[in-house]
Amino acid sequence: MEFELSEEQRAFRDVLRRFADERIAPVARDWELSGRHPTEIVDGLAELGLFGILVPEEYGGLALDAVSYGIVFEEISRAWMGIAGFLGTHSLATNLLTRFGTDEQRRAHLPDLAAGRRISALGLTEPGAGSDLQGITTRAVRDGDAYVLNGVKTWLTNAAIAEPIVVLVVTDPTAEPRHRGLSLLLVDAGLDGVEISGDIPKLGYHGTSSHEVAFTDVRVPATALLGGEEGLGFKQAVSALEIGRVNIAARSVGLARASYDAAVAYATQREAFGHPIAEFQAIQLKLADMATELQAGRLMWHWAAAAMDAGGRSDLQTGMAKLYCSEMALRASLTALRVHGGYGFSQEFEVERYYRDAPLMAIGEGTSDILRIVIARRLIAGEALS
């Protein structure tokens, strides 16, 4: 059994760890609280090549394996979750184009997206449907050489600046089962009839913007149908977004690590009753649990990512890793806050941000309960745990 990263994966980790320590962590708290756009960080990520993280090399990307991909998100999230947010969504949208785009669509979009000259977004969720994606109602009706689009999407990361937004739409409302009536369209946010809200006010995840997007009689060229065939959208989304679970699991571990590091540093320096609080067993138990769960989480996402890289079906592994790591990160951020006492509640320390950023990990890319259902279905269907 091997638990070692390859030399290349270690090199990726080292560069990113350094970038995160030098360029992200020192400004994260200020910029997150003031809402300043992380322009310099975005530019730095582009120089590192990370906008093309899942894009094939022929289009200027890196085509990283799932383990390397996770390493990137773990290291960024350790410094600032909001940065991982916009890059994560972009990577998933480019993965859809890579996996299912026609040659023409790939050529038209991927080089710019890989270089960071453009950014992409993903439009699945609607005000009335999130977990139940087959219940979406945004409608695309074919009219000559275009689709006419009507409906509303919400919580769209990056949407205000995205080109394109990959939007899940209903092309055939009569299809049975419903998913056969869904398709993905590559929609340019600048088209007439696209209305994008300001950043949705939210608990955490600042640095990544979230928008509601309304489509009113938007004419999208028919050539923008992903893959050029109707009715495949749901399957395409489910398949290309599976790596998103590795993404969230790795991010969760990054956040838990930041929480743990902060807790240890604080506990060894803060004194109460004449002792550093790290000498109290109640604090030691917390640190030990955090470190143990953190290590379990890391092994779990490595395991899930390795299963993806090996090919074949891996949704059981990725589902388990996402479920465990996100819930673990929630616990870790709360524990770190407790260890800090009243200061944990202060915006002068980092842990309150970790606490605000953690819950999304258990919501996006499948809520914890939805993942439990997915996992249980696989188990009941007879999948053995290797």
């Binding site: 560069v15 120089e47 090549g49 890196l62």
Partner: protein
């Protein structure tokens, strides 16, 4: 234009270094080995010459086989090729012995410019660049905080305590750079991926025709007789501000005493 950048493997600068009492060299097991951070400035300068003047840049390292990841690390910044001198006889060489090997290794290559870091973060002797230039009979332009190439002329700003001197010479030449010269980039992921397949040649002292009576611990001119742990850090002085202005005088006196102003 051909540029060579000699780099060194050093114990992690942030790590707590230990001396092995048996051979009185740094205990490499006790701390992770890394590319010397000062070399990153030399690499950055070489990369700029590559980008602006299409220079071809080769990295050179003298060190055991296990130091190969450091060569690859240097290549990941975008350099073209690597040369590594591997020979047991080099072990324990002092600055002069190392300079001897480097000079021979450089002489075996074609080059217009050699860019060193001005010192390594482990030994900090600052001797090697000038020694190499001396052995090769080339101009040494050390402590460069700015560097310009125009045809076969090089101009550097040579840093010293009161500012800098403008120093010029013809090429080929040997330069050492200080950290003020630039802001090193990060290796890109593409650079890391490409580093694996960049050409890397390994040479022995025999290949380079090095006189082994001048290298290795037995022939070192610098001998370490004794070593001690660094004294523990003294607690700092705390200046209390009582509102009378005395604190400012105290601070100013302290700065003068320490020669900061």
């Amino acid at each position: 234009m051909k540029v060579l950048v000699p780099v060194k493997r050093v114990p992690d600068t942030a790590g707590e270094k230990k001396i092995d009492p048996n051979d009185r060299t740094v205990d490499r097991e006790s701390v992770e080995s890394v590319l010397c951070p000062v070399n990153e400035f030399a690499i950055e300068e070489a990369m700029r010459l590559k980008e602006q003047q299409d220079a071809e840049v080769t990295v050179l390292l003298v060190g055991p086989e296990s130091a190969q990841p450091v060569v690859r690390k240097a290549l990941s910044y975008g350099l073209d090729a690597g040369v590594q001198v591997v020979d047991d006889a080099v072990v324990g060489s002092d600055a002069l012995g190392t300079a001897e090997v480097l000079a021979k290794a450089l002489a075996a290559e074609e080059f217009d410019l050699v860019i060193f870091g001005n010192q390594s973060t482990d030994a900090r002797t600052c001797l090697v660049p000038a020694a190499v230039a001396e052995i090769l009979g080339l101009p040494a332009l050390t402590y460069a905080r700015h560097l310009e190439i125009d045809g076969d002329q090089i101009t550097v700003h040579r840093e010293h305590e009161e500012g800098w001197d403008v120093v010029e010479s013809s090429l080929p030449a040997v330069v050492s750079v200080v950290e003020a010269i630039n802001e090193p980039r990060y290796p890109s992921f593409k650079g890391i991926m490409a580093a694996k397949s960049k050409p890397l040649e390994v040479r022995s002292l025999d290949d380079l025709d090095v006189d082994t009576s001048r290298v290795g611990s037995d022939n070192a001119a610098a001998i370490m007789y004794e070593f001690r742990d660094r004294p523990p850090k003294e607690p700092g002085t705390i200046v209390e501000d009582d509102g009378s202005g005395a604190a400012a005088t105290q601070l100013a006196d302290w700065l003068v005493e320490k020669k900061f102003v």
